[in-house]
Amino acid sequence: MPHDHADDPHLSPSGHPYRPDQDEPLTYWQTMEIAIRELLVEKGILTPAEIQAEIDAMDSRSPANGAAVVARAWTDPEYKARLLADASAACRELGFDIGPLRLIAVENTETVHNLIVCTLCSCYPRNLLGLPPDWYKSRAYRSRAVREPRALLAEFGLTLGRDVTLRVHDSTADMRYVVLPRRPEGTEGWDAEALAALVTRDSMIGTGLPRSPGDVASTVAGAEGNG
């Protein structure tokens, strides 16, 4: 059956505009990156294999790592205490290779909500969560997260009550931050693996909340069906 937009050469079959090919010449900084990378290889400081291994390691990091940390904290009060005292050590305890990352975990409660931003650039706990979403690096997010964070969160679909204190954390220097969201209601008795499926990337940035059990009921049932 033909799609609604099949005749429009500017739209994909699903009705979205095609992203233009990026056939422009390299920018100054792209050229600079390639030049430095090739010089490091020529001078024997790095090997191409080492560079590729580092890219692979970063690509293998994802919000699932953070979700495992959060879910463990939800199920193990002693682990949660260690996470809040030294989040880097708590991540390594679960076997995550976070390199030199210095991580601080900030806890959401009934009366406190936390939001992470880097107003100066794009600092993000990449060594735990992988690369940040594009919007995290946008000038709009970076400025509004400190100037009008409640209006910003409302646009993410999260309206905070006046009885909740919003704490914004600006990653201006050597620390990185992760939010420990509140455990969703209706998850009593769930194990850490099931809980981890509720933890979203945005809930660890503070622009969202974890999924509720109702949101994932069908997903969980499907996973069980697959053994």
């Binding site: 100037r147 964070p149 600006d170 201006t172």
Partner: protein
């Protein structure tokens, strides 16, 4: 009682990690993080001195005045100690 500090209102050239919106603003020390190489020197491959890094908490009222969405909301930021001047308790409102 929380230790109050004010961010210096400097505007030096170069790589500086003290956001403009915090300069001249008063906050309280949330925690001390230890010493780290000064990025203002590190960025230029100088032998960077290790300077104490401090997390300072500012209220939305302090940062934005009447324009704050909710005066008691806060922004925490890491500021290197040479950017901070201590305030006497007598200065407290």
């Amino acid at each position: 009682m929380a230790e109050r500090v004010r961010v210096r209102r400097w505007a030096p050239p170069g790589h500086v990690r003290t956001p403009f919106y915090l300069r001249g603003k008063t906050g309280v020390i949330e925690r001390r993080l230890g010493r780290f190489p000064n990025p203002e020197e590190l960025a230029y491959r100088q032998d960077a001195a290790r300077i104490e890094l401090v997390r300072v908490r500012f209220t939305a009222a302090e940062l934005w005045g009447d324009g704050a969405e909710r005066p008691d909301d806060t922004v925490d930021a890491e500021i290197y100690a040479h950017w901070l001047e201590p305030l006497e308790a007598a200065d407290a409102p």
